[in-house]
Symmetry: none
Subunit: 197 residues, 4 copies
DNA sequence: AATGAATGAGAATTCATTCAT
DNA sequence: TATGAATGAATTCTCATTCAT
């Protein structure tokens, strides 16, 4: 029996990221993905039900990974809320810094999926944001963050802001250096909620 | 006499907003737009070169209007930088509050156009952000805002954050009330850059 | 405005009969039908929803025509039941004698449609058989046909028998001359139900 | 030792009947057949050249069996032509009464094969019909059947009629009870050719 | 200007068959 | 023999755009 190569699925996902980033999800062709992955068109369908499920899987993996990484830090007692917030932001940036293509897909297509029924990455995505909110709550309790922060607005505003900066970097890395933007963001976020003085 | 023409063109744009919002740009059909506008498919092409140019025009109009509105306030000497920043944010929200469909299209499709060559709405879009940056600079000069704010990060971060909140509102207005989010944002933005104390 | 040619639908149907007869419904390509009809592939879909609906329409037209023709004779008082039965059979044969292709499609594909939900030709088809049954009933009442004939079996048996002979003729007209088979059938049918003596 | 082989081949054939009956030959998948047979897709091709040859084999087996059964009765001197005709019809019905699936395949797909070159079941099929004709000839010689019967028409008409009734039964056994139809058919057939009085 | 019929390129998906193991 | 992963040809249907009227 011809045995499954074992990494074909991964190759498809990697190829898909590249093609989706280059052409946009809607203009991407399965045949291009297959070609880049070095397999036949039909084989794509051995691993994925259809084009959308590839995109879904990409986001699922991305957010599952982020959640996994954050969880490890989340409960640590030796870190302040401010430090945890920094870590959260770092995680996102680290996740993309070596994968500009993934960043492009992330900023361009997440909305599309979100508007399309209940994709399965949603639970991880919300878990991540939820942990962020929790960290801020903790900071408020310790008197580091202001009491009157609107947590819902904060979390989505921050998420949107970060996403947009990643977008800019992914398209023009020279003009928008990721590291510089990362520290700029940290400052903004912390200032926006820190107790005055 | 442009009445007839202007009328139809406008009707096409309005229909397009509704259809794009409902189906997403890529899945929208020209025939649906024509039908909603009450004209024939062929007529659409008398007013627009192709599907993309309708979308382009939508954004062009949107940003031109915002720029026009902001310009009027921008130079006023009787307003502080903080007040001007509030106005800027208000303008964006006011532009959408009665046009949820436009908001949906705005958040979902602006990236697509941005990644597609140099759409002509870009100059207005950048002018708007530029004025925002200028307002912040003014605030810094007057000692209201912190000197060390990264202006590039600030403007894009803020833009991204606002956009995302508008997105949430457009899809779930009950859960994300626009007015509440607007004041939450104002607080965050101002706190994030205000001089401590 | 480009006006509808008015007979394009008909040309598609005629082309479809030829292609379906040659290749069988399942192996027929829309592109072949379009080509034979002298139009583009896309145009086929202006007139028909999909491939199956073309086939459906073919049968619908066929049976509607047969029913129409039979109705005219059905009520005549000057004809005996025997004569009416002859007419019924003649109608079917006449319907095919100049359209061997239609005959082929008829015998090969009617079952497929019948097994596929409720195609709309069914009502005509059943009306036709129903009239046949009624004619036989009439003959029984007048003492021409035997009382103990199983009408259900008779009508379906006869239909199946005729269909099969048409099949043979359509494929090998030389070996199975239609006219000869027609009279053979008439004899069989009448003998099978005629009152002995 | 053919146990293993013979076994699997048979299982494939049985599975194929079920799947062909359910989905129609053209829409049946080899993978479904393999699954139902409890073997792998590849194994199907160890026993059959391709999909069509499975169908072929089904018909070949069916008709070979019928011929074999008929032959045993065919030469008996103690039976009249009428009795032999009854037997012929019984054989067909008995062949299906416990195999509705086979009946469905038989009525739906035999034409397809017949139109497709020279399938190898043809010789059995024709032998069967030939014997039927011979029986009728015998009856004519003995003065039981009418001299003027068109034997060709008779045999094909009868075959077509029987097939159609089997079709009806296979799809709606409640509405078209096989036994009742069988006796109805016998009556019709015999009456259609019996010498008057 | 207006119409809407006509076009035809385009792409996702299926599945019989092959073949490496 | 047996497996089932891999192949890739094949075909329906869609829809932006064109164009005859």
């Amino acid at each position: 029996m011809r045995t499954k190569t074992g990494n074909k699925e991964q190759r498809i996902l990697e190829a898909a990221v590249a093609i989706f980033a280059r052409d946009g999800y809607h203009h991407s062709r399965i045949s291009d993905i297959a070609e880049l992955a070095g397999i036949s068109v039909g084989s794509v369908y051995l691993y994925f039900d259809n084009k959308e499920s590839i995109l879904n899987r990409l986001f699922s993996d991305l957010w599952a990974r982020l959640v996994g990484q954050l969880k490890a830090q989340y409960r640590r007692q030796d870190l302040t809320a401010v430090e945890k917030l920094d870590i959260m932001i770092d995680l996102i940036f680290n996740g993309f810094i070596h994968h500009a293509d993934l960043a492009v897909v992330f900023v361009n297509e997440q909305n599309f999926l979100l508007n399309h029924g209940r994709p399965d990455f949603i639970k991880h995505y919300e878990a991540y944001l939820q942990m962020g909110t929790q960290i801020v709550r903790e900071g408020i309790k310790h008197g580091v963050f202001r009491k009157d922060v609107d947590l819902v607005v904060l979390r989505h505003f921050t998420f949107g802001g970060i996403r947009h900066l990643i977008h800019l970097w992914a398209h023009e890395p020279k003009r928008f250096p990721l590291l510089q933007m990362r520290s700029g963001i940290k400052e903004l976020v912390k200032n926006s909620i820190r107790v005055a003085r």
